[in-house]
């Protein structure tokens, strides 16, 4: 206790920090740029997927369910790609397992949803589409997916908000 010099030094430190610029980023208004390998929400590219089920087998929590069918040319084709993000650990093992880069992770971080139901989603559904990206894809999800990658997390949040607002 004796002197109190240390306590005064502490006051100097806080005053020094007080006068310098804060380091906070005002989150919803400004966003940090994540590294390219950031493990956020998923993006699925159905045109690259050949339904090999590597991702399904590598997942520790059985998040991914793939339904494939063998086409006339004996090649596996994707019919349905479901993810149940309730159980997802975001460990990235599925992304690592995929040889075709069909499933990737994005820097999406707003993955919350209002209801667990919205976290269970079909990223792709329809009769098979060719590698070129067929136009015969059914379902609104698939139509979205044909234009670009379907984003798992983002659509969950959007869908959740939409349902709640109704």
């Amino acid at each position: 206790m004796a002197h109190g010099i240390g306590a005064l030094k502490g006051l100097r430190v806080t005053l020094g920090v007080f006068l310098t610029k804060p380091i906070t980023i005002e989150y919803p208004f400004k966003k940090v740029k994540f590294s390219p390998v950031y493990r956020g929400g998923f993006a699925f590219h159905p045109d690259r997927c050949n339904a090999c089920k590597s991702c399904q087998n590598s997942c520790p929590n059985k998040v991914i369910t793939i339904t494939g069918e063998r086409g006339e040319d004996k090649k596996m084709r994707l019919v349905k790609y479901e993810m149940n993000l309730n159980y997802c650990l975001y460990c990235g093992l599925c992304v690592e397992a995929c040889n075709k880069n069909a499933i990737t992770m994005t820097d999406q971080i707003d993955l919350a949803a209002y209801d667990r139901r919205f976290l269970k989603m079909e990223l792709f559904k329809g009769p098979s589409i060719g590698p070129a990206g067929g136009s015969d894809a059914g379902g609104d999800k698939a139509a979205k997916a044909a234009g670009g990658p379907a984003k798992a997390g983002g659509s969950a949040a959007e869908e959740g908000q939409r349902k709640v607002s109704q």
Binding site: G10, L89, L93
Partner: protein, 552 residues
């Protein structure tokens, strides 16, 4: 050399114990004794008294359903040598019973309760053989291989009733506080205060039922299990590679260290050689993670003593470390970076310059912490000579990690049993003297410096080695040969061990996590008895408790 000693010891021990005990050497030179259950305690007693195995490192069990056996496994440690020894007591599966080891090693208390909870092994003579993690009334013992999970929910207690239910050991009777501690006129002198499960400074869902006399703590009972997720059971149903994300989630402040011990154990089991570049990256990452975890602890000590600002400065540096983790592996807290046979991916280009910049800046920041927190007289008064962990107590309760070193016992796994590349680096193990809250705090501060040194050397080594593969060739469906492996490392919290049993399949047959904090926490009641409430907070902060690891 080490094996030679073990051979000698084996010969000596074989002469000492003639009946019912067989000795053998495992592949990595660890002496193993298989003991007939009735003799187990005697053997432990002799080993402790005559052969200096003064610490019960771990106590667990494995259910070998094919042999109709549950093997209780005592892992003993001589910290001075250091030297490890395993005592196995195979029990009959239909009626597993063995005498308790709490008389020999008090640290066995919770560990035996845990084994009782998981396997249903009855430890005769145990002071309080109740379930550790599951609730009383849970049907079955989940770690038995023939356990089938049915939907069981905890019984509905009357909330007022539960807070007075006496379900832990020790002299504290929650049902009857007044008893003989009255002050003469019949009114109770002490009262019970429940710290937690939700309390700002229990760092998670930890409950300490505390008997108070005014502000002074008369007695305390730690009550655990609020964050129990059955992690060890879950991973028995996962493939070897799929376990890694789960290890992150035990001690979530030291995810890299957890990954490290697990992958080392699997590599030992399967005999996988790791490329040197990957191993250096692992060392860099684990040391960064150690800094990360220690910063959190140091800040928390400050915050629990009432200083809200220092932890914010420490978070600032933690953010930098987290950014670097994110660069390398995409995760900030739960990194899942290490893989069996290497690491997930090579370091990105900008990582090394950024780390070098961090190393350059960090001493300045540590000065700032010292100016604002360590140097503050109020802080010193709050933590100096508060709590007293003696060497005897530390050994009695198998305390490891910085807490053990604060008593002056020089035991750090990085030096004592060097794993990975630690024998290549030059660093010191800071030691304390008094075993008080200040030592707990200050040792972490000093360890940050040592970690910075190690990272510096590792970076130089990394540049010397140059680019190369970071992942050994490991088959996609890994099937390690049947057998078992134990690896322990120095995690930020203490001596973290991983015991794996393989039956040659794609899943671990038994996965045992030796949680340093769970074992350290047993010493808490004795540490805080007689201190004030505020001291309990300061001492408990010194444990650096992460409930994710305690409860698993």
């Amino acid at each position: 050399m080490k094996t030679k000693d073990a051979e000698k010891k084996k010969a000596a021990l074989s002469r000492r114990f003639t009946e019912g005990v067989t000795f053998e050497l495992s592949k990595d030179g660890v002496l193993e004794a298989v003991v007939a259950p009735p003799q187990a305690v005697n053997v432990l007693q002799t080993l402790k008294e005559e052969y200096d195995y003064h610490q019960l490192h771990d106590l667990t069990a494995v259910d070998y359903i094919k042999d109709n056996q549950i093997t209780v496994l005592y892992r003993l440690m001589n910290l001075e040598k250091p030297d490890m020894m395993v005592v196995k007591a195979p029990l009959d599966r239909s009626q597993p019973e063995v005498a308790t080891a709490t008389g020999v090693y008090p640290a066995a208390n919770w560990l035996e309760r845990e084994v009782y909870d998981y396997f249903g092994v009855k430890f005769t003579g145990h002071p309080n053989l109740t379930r550790m993690m599951m609730w009383e009334g849970f049907e079955g013992h989940p770690f038995r291989k023939d356990f089938t999970a049915v939907d069981q929910s905890p019984p509905n207690y009357d909330p007022l009733e539960t807070s007075y239910v006496d379900f832990t050991e020790g002299p504290l009777q929650l049902t009857d506080v007044s008893g003989n501690r009255g002050n003469g006129n019949g009114s109770p002198r002490t009262f019970i205060l429940n710290f937690g499960p939700q309390h700002p400074s229990t760092h998670g869902v930890f409950r300490a039922a505390t008997e108070l006399d005014g502000e002074t703590i008369v007695d305390m009972k730690p009550i655990l299990g609020y964050l129990h997720r059955g992690l060890e059971k879950i991973v028995e149903n996962r493939t070897w590679a799929q376990v890694i994300p789960y290890t992150d989630r035990t001690d979530y402040l030291g995810a890299m260290n957890n990954n490290h011990v697990y992958v080392l154990a699997v590599e030992k089991l399967a005999g996988i050689e790791v490329p040197v570049r990957a191993e250096i990256i692992r060392v860099i990452m684990t040391e960064l993670n150690r800094i990360n975890s220690h910063l959190m602890m140091v800040g928390c000590v400050g915050m629990d003593c009432g200083a809200t600002t220092p932890i914010m400065y420490m978070w600032r540096e933690r953010e930098k470390i987290n950014d670097m983790f994110e660069m390398a592996c995409g995760g900030r807290l739960l990194t899942t970076y290490f893989r069996i046979g290497g690491v997930a991916r090579d370091l990105p280009e900008e990582f090394v310059p950024r780390l070098r910049k961090f190393l350059k800046e960090m001493p300045g920041w540590i000065d700032q912490y010292n100016n604002i927190l360590s140097g503050n007289e109020i802080f010193q008064k709050r933590v100096k000579s508060v709590g007293h962990l003696t060497q005897e107590m530390a050994l009695k309760y198998s305390v490891t990690g910085p807490m053990l070193r604060s008593t002056g016992i020089n035991y750090d796994v990085r030096k004592a049993d060097p794993y990975s590349l630690y024998s290549k680096f030059d660093f010191k193990i800071p030691l304390g003297k008094n075993g008080d809250a200040w030592d707990f705090y200050w040792l972490r501060m000093l360890e940050i410096w040592q970690s910075l040194r190690i990272i510096q050397q590792a970076l130089d080594y990394l540049e010397e080695v140059g680019p190369g593969p970071v992942q050994a060739r490991v088959s996609k469906v890994l099937k390690p040969p049947a057998g078992e492996a134990y690896v322990h490392i120095e995690s930020p919290k203490g001596d973290l061990g991983c015991y794996l049993v393989s039956d040659g399949g794609t899943n671990p047959y038994r996965f045992r996590w030796r949680p340093p904090l769970f074992i350290n926490l047993q010493s808490l009641p004795e540490m805080v008895r007689g201190w004030k409430i505020a001291d309990f907070i300061a001492i408990f902060a010194g444990y650096d408790a992460v409930m994710g690891e305690v409860d698993r």
